[in-house]
Symmetry: C2
Subunit: 479 residues, 2 copies
């Protein structure tokens, strides 16, 4: 006889409801017939009576059965059997898959921004509209009249874009590669998704930085990875910690963002870079280097990537246009051993059949154009200006209530609030006053840390945004 | 003491090699030291000696250990310990993830096309360059000077495109929906990927058509789904088969392509459509309706979709521009209950952070433009012309060797070869003669079926392509 599966993730009462519905649908209990009593069924199935009661309630809610006090539970005569209409239980389907929903704080911030476009936005990790090369892109799109045929593209990416990236990587990042080792992706996000889905298996241990935007990506948990932390100090992560994690947990991969790390803004020290690569080669451990911010370096001398020093192919290098040009282009890239690039391209074909050719053409034209360098120059100056304004505002409005290092590149400023506060409460008070930020816990930190993105807000809003934040902080600590 | 895990998917010898490497790296066996003998290690670990031999061979291949006849196996003195360099074992990483590689036939066809662009292509399921609205898209891109800001887009899709799709769906497909229920995707492929990943769990049973392009998608196997077949006859699938599969295997979802089915070209009969929806509502079973070909209907009267008759929300409807405009735009859409559309948008944010705004703008402009209807009209006429040319050529070159129904829409013609042939051999002979097609086994059929796509090849190449195919068939059957 059928019994519910106690090892299944599906709750017992749902299994019982499904089972009963199946028996009813097969005609075992015809319309109008009496079902066994709750007590008897509980006995037969070896479950508590309350479980059967919940199963009956579920079936009643769909109209398949009816209960009347004193006369037991019957299969519905009217609803079942005479062409009943059943909408699929979409709720259950949407809980079925492998993808965890996004973090509550991130959803809350997204919803707050969607409901009130006037919010001062220190939360979205992207450029403001006036920092993006909109005119340049518009000009390129009119200059290069679109002519090529829009058929399925090579799933590894549009070849002229890969060629442009090879030149870009050599000129700007000191990375020598070939188009066969470059994979074009839908931003860094898709590079990370492909790596976590295709090169790692559920249960694998990986090391991520602490704090790190990786915590804000349910992607890692969705892939079933076990996450271990590499604390970030003012010089970045410590390579000895990598070795220790390898010994203890047999980590399979290290995820790092060595240049203007998100959220802390830290640059990995040169001596540690060398040691990190040594550890990687000693342990044959792959390193995923996410490098979206380097070119924002305010002094115009971006730190060199790990990949430029990687002699044996330990590093998967990830880059993107999102933080230096336009996140809405959705153009990112990965440099990987050729076999890995091809493997990931094959897998991504199953996911989305590759990217649209149009933004890839635009990206290639932009990289090759005379607009690119002046855009970067202007971007750096504007970011520096915004950073200074934020730093001033923070000093003025918050004084001793806040501690931070001044970042030398990137879009973010990371700080510790000295009062003891509750992340969620502070966010709520801030939203009420028309300003949003990202609580540090999103990046795996304890309560009391905050990431301010200064790239997204309008320059003129930065001082008033921080004034509102200061009010919110006072309201939180007073309360 | 450590023992290999016999329930792990990792082969025993690999586990042992990993374990030994770890012990060596921790200094348990210093450089130059002697390892236990194969026999002794096999005893300790409770495995066959041959397993240890394989583990040693693996370690020898990386240079960590060295064996000399008569003097046992030692940790390498030169390679290990003195700053050894180890590239990650990329091969093993690339075998680790959840994604199966694409089917060998599909890879073979792709490679053949990549190596010889002169091949006559009856294999790629897409439009020829001259059938795509290239001039129209170029015109739209110059007319609408690009101005909007390229920030991250709403992960459910660019709102003006969703609005344009709502109008399109009502006007052309008789589907009434709202933009909240529309999700913009990277073609049908991503819609299917999101459904299989987010609404189903590994081990779930689903029903797919036989034959069906679903077999050509390793996506279904990668998601760990159990596939059951719904035979397609000349009227499409039989709804009674759906009920039978539900009773037997408790299928969770049905995937169907009711209009000009790929590969057979079949249109699901009206009476069966009604019954299929009845069965779906009786069993509360979701139906995924993939509808990429309807608008190619040569008589200009596309069959109405299931979704237009779906009163209770059983149907997830999938559409795309790929087969009616430009596959390289990578624009598809799904119509789903609002909660499902939002859930899938949330999950896709983890995968790729949404689509580029540019092709979405182009798609919206195209749908709203005066170019759209005339393009469809011209497309239908050109496809009809190509179909007729293919049918004539097949009759002339192959006569009794082939049997098929003439499709009334879509890009493909499906046929059965009467001689007993070996799929792979035929494909090889065809490639040698400069023509490619897709063997029926890619769609789950027995040997001897062939899908010819007539939309992709140049019109003038169709007769000679079929003549070459006929030669290849003769060479295969003679051989």
């Amino acid at each position: 006889m059928w019994k519910p599966d106690r090892h299944s993730q599906q709750p017992l009462y749902e299994q019982i409801a499904d089972h009963l519905e199946q028996r009813i649908s097969y005609g075992e209990f015809p319309p109008g017939s009496l079902l066994p009593s709750e007590r008897k069924l509980a006995e037969q199935l070896g479950v508590n009576r309350s479980t059967v009661i919940m199963a009956f309630a579920e079936l009643r809610s769909t109209g398949i059965i009816e209960s009347r006090t004193g006369s037991g539970t019957r299969v519905s005569a009217t609803k079942w059997g005479v062409a009943p209409k059943h909408t699929p239980n979409w709720k259950r389907y949407s809980e079925g898959g492998g993808f965890l929903p996004n973090l509550p704080f991130m959803r809350k911030i997204r919803e707050a921004l969607a409901h009130n476009p006037e919010l001062i936005d220190f939360a979205s990790g992207e450029l403001a509209g006036d920092l993006a090369p909109n005119d340049e892109i518009a000009a390129l799109m009119s200059e290069h009249r679109y002519t090529s045929y829009l058929g399925y593209d090579n799933p590894q990416g549009y070849i002229p874009l890969r060629q442009a990236l090879v030149s870009y990587l050599e000129a700007h990042r000191n990375i020598r590669t070939t188009e066969a080792s470059v994979l074009v992706t839908s931003g860094s996000q898709q590079s990370l998704y492909l790596i976590t889905q295709c090169l790692l298996s559920p249960g694998d241990a990986v090391a991520i930085e602490d704090p790190s935007y990786c915590y804000s990506l349910p992607m890692f948990q969705s892939a079933g990875l076990r996450l271990f932390r590499l604390p970030v100090d003012r010089y970045g992560i410590d390579p000895d910690d990598v070795r220790a994690l390898y010994k203890k947990h047999r980590i399979k991969m290290v995820f790092t963002n060595p240049n203007f790390q998100n959220p802390t803004g830290t640059v990995l020290a040169a001596e540690r870079r060398k040691r990190l690569l040594d550890v990687a080669s000693e342990l044959a451990l792959p390193i995923v280097e996410d490098d979206p911010f380097s070119l924002t370096s305010y002094d115009g001398a971006p730190p060199s990537p790990l990949k430029a020093m990687d002699e044996i192919g330990s590093v998967l290098y990830i880059g993107s246009f999102s933080k230096i040009a336009a996140s809405g282009l959705r153009i990112g890239w990965m440099v990987a051993p050729r076999a890995i690039a091809e493997r990931l391209a094959d897998a991504r074909q199953q996911m989305d059949f590759g990217l649209s050719v149009i933004p890839q053409q635009v990206a290639a034209q932009f990289l090759n154009s005379a607009y690119f360098e002046p855009h970067l120059e202007r971007l750096r100056m504007q970011l520096l200006f915004k950073r200074d304004l934020l730093v001033e505002s923070l000093h003025r409005e918050l004084g001793d209530l806040i501690r931070f290092e001044i970042p030398q590149g990137g879009l973010h400023l990371w700080c510790k609030l000295t009062p003891d506060i509750h992340d969620g409460k502070l966010l709520e008070e801030a939203v009420r006053r028309g300003v949003v930020f990202v609580p540090g816990s999103v990046y795996g930190s304890d309560s009391g840390f905050v990431r301010f993105t200064f790239a997204r807000a309008r320059t003129e809003d930065i001082p008033s945004g921080i004034a509102r934040f200061a009010e919110a902080l006072r309201a939180t600590t007073d309360g």
